[in-house]
């Protein structure tokens, strides 16, 4: 299962001929006794939008912290723009949106942005930032008076203020309502491109699917899959066949082309990359089968199956 997903080099070269801008090389990170990351290899290429997808506690925030130089790896190597992530030169090319609170509430949007712009040698103009983050007309508003969605947009504005080549967004839309989430998505999408690399962590599959052209699935500190949304669905068993049959689970599991079988109601739920051959075989073995249904599986299900596969 793994080999199929990880072997994406050809696929990647076709989509992005960008060079490697940052990488984790066999990186492990342990906090006291908990291992947050275990031997992770991850390369980020110029121009791609990568989603780190996984449940809470999977190690996504740790991965971002390593790239930002905020966390030192226990083992392995972190490189950003060819040097240590803590180097000032690489920092000026990076922007970040982290899961934080405690943003000073008595400063205005314009003031927050002006201060963060000053950290960079060649920042974007205030107007460009306000437009990109959808904050035009709110520049005099105090941070404390903003709605949840507006606050997240300001965090996004700060992240892009230095005109970064590499942008990290840690759970950018967590806690937002659907409308605000969609608005932030379109701002992120508009800001991508032009050789800019964006890394976002999320536990919303919909978000990864909507924004990323590459998804890295992380579970309990390990990369369990890395590929396009389509290839992940493919590997997890592209089609789901639901059927009521007298055939038992073991028989079906042994059929060629079947990747997984689970009992469901009075029948079976069968996963197969190509459904046609399996259906033909099933009909051959049990001409009386009924309730046949073939559907594509969602990313949500692909994700669940991949994580369960590792646990087993």
């Amino acid at each position: 299962m793994d080999t199929g997903v990880r072997d994406r080099t050809a696929d990647q070269t076709a989509n992005f001929n960008g060079s490697i801008v940052a990488s984790l090389q066999s990186v492990s990170k342990a906090y006291d006794k908990v291992e947050a990351l275990r031997g992770v290899d991850l390369e980020l290429r110029a121009g791609e939008v990568v989603a780190l997808l996984g449940p809470n506690g999977a190690g996504k925030t740790t991965a971002i912290g390593l790239f930002l130089g905020r966390i030192r790896p226990t083992r392995g190597r972190v490189q950003v723009f060819g040097s240590e992530p803590t180097r000032a030169a690489s920092r000026t090319r990076i922007g970040a949106m982290l899961q934080i609170s405690g943003v000073p509430e008595t400063l205005r949007i314009r003031e927050h942005i002006e201060l963060f712009r000053s950290y960079y040698p060649q920042p974007l103009s205030l107007e460009t930032i306000l437009t990109a983050a959808g904050l035009v007309g709110l520049e005099q508003r105090f941070y404390g008076k903003l709605s949840g969605g507006q606050k997240q947009r300001l965090h996004f504005a700060l992240a892009l203020s230095g005109n970064p080549d590499l942008l990290f967004l840690d759970e950018p839309t967590v806690g937002l309502d659907v409308g605000s989430r969609k608005a932030l998505w379109s701002q992120i999408r508009r800001f991508s491109g032009q050789g800019r690399t964006i890394v976002l962590s999320t536990h919303y599959l919909e978000e990864a699917d909507a924004l990323a052209d590459r998804i890295v699935l992380i579970d309990r500190g390990r990369v369990i899959a890395d590929g396009t949304p389509a290839s992940i669905k493919q590997v997890a068993g592209g089609r789901k066949i639901t059927v009521t049959t007298r055939l038992d689970r073991t028989t079906v599991e042994r059929l060629p082309g079947v990747s997984d079988v689970r009992p469901r109601h009075h029948g079976l739920e069968i996963l197969a990359p190509r459904a046609e051959a399996v259906v033909r075989k099933l009909l051959e073995l049990d001409p009386n089968l009924h309730g046949l249904e073939v559907t594509g599986i969602g990313l949500e299900e692909a994700f669940l199956r991949l994580t369960q596969g590792v646990k087993a």
Binding site: L68, G102, P104, T106, L107, E111, L158, G162
Partner: protein, 266 residues
């Protein structure tokens, strides 16, 4: 080539100055607009001075008038608060809630962050001491020469450094929820016991014995010595104690800062 290099250095220096300036300006504005900080830090010394320093009429404390004596002790009280709260509570909150982590992920020079807080606390301190001296002059019959004002202001502002350092250490020792309470628990008893509210000579003997162990006492005595109203202790000794407290606090803060930097989050 050489010219180019020097303009780059020049530009970099100007950028750094701009960061320090904006960081300081917004640190000040942020706190000024925060009533819990600006009102308590500015209003309490002013209110206490008006109530206890001016409204009882004029009397003399040894060589100086009560209005001048209280102007110094209540200024010391106010400036100490500006420093302790400005550092302690701000650092604890910004550290505990992730704001500092975010700023550290950006190319902000860490020194700018701390320098801005020194600037902010100094500016609040200046406002306090100048307000009290003005009130004393207008309503307390104080007559001070320009040189005297300069000495008082200079001693009180410079003498606040240990409390900025102590506040910084407290900012690292406490969390966002406990900082205000902890700082108050240290600040208020320390102010009273050192004779910042009621002259030390009028406090019960217990406090007079306790006072020399408190940094607030040495600070107040430095301020009072600048108007010739100290209790006779050696100025050098006060300075030595305050320097010691500054160094120990900075050391604690520095150790905890690097522990924070090494430790990760999330």
């Amino acid at each position: 080539m050489i010219l180019q290099a020097s303009t780059t250095t020049h530009r970099r220096r100007r950028n750094a100055l701009r960061i320090f300036w904006l960081e300081s300006k917004y640190e000040f504005l942020k706190n000024l607009r925060l009533p819990i900080y600006s009102l308590s830090v500015l209003m309490f010394p002013v209110m206490f001075y008006v109530l206890f320093g001016l409204s009882f009429g004029r009397s003399d404390f040894g060589p100086v008038s009560s209005s001048l004596y209280y102007a110094v002790t209540y200024s010391a009280f106010g400036i100490m608060g500006a420093s302790l709260f400005g550092f302690g509570v701000n650092v604890a909150v910004e550290r505990g809630q992730g704001w500092m982590h975010l700023k550290r992920a950006f190319p902000m020079p860490p020194l700018a962050y701390f320098a801005a807080k020194v600037f902010m606390a100094t500016l609040f301190g200046l406002i306090i001491v100048l307000t009290l001296l003005t009130l004393g002059t207008l309503f307390g019959g104080m007559r001070l020469a320009a040189g005297q004002i300069l000495v008082i202001v200079g001693v009180l502002i410079a003498g606040a450094l240990p409390f900025s350092a102590l506040g910084l250490a407290l900012g690292y020792l406490t969390g966002p929820n406990s900082a205000t309470a902890v700082v108050n628990l240290i600040y208020l008893p320390m102010s009273f016991s050192a004779g910042l509210w009621i002259p030390i000579q009028e406090l019960p003997a217990f406090f007079q014995t306790l006072a020399p162990y408190l940094p607030s006492y040495h600070y107040a005595q430095l301020g009072l010595a600048s108007i010739g109203a100290g209790d006779g202790g050696h100025v050098g000794w006060h300075i030595l104690v305050l320097t010691g407290i500054t160094l120990v606090s900075l050391l604690v803060a520095l150790v905890l800062y690097f522990r924070d930097e090494a430790r990760s989050y999330g």
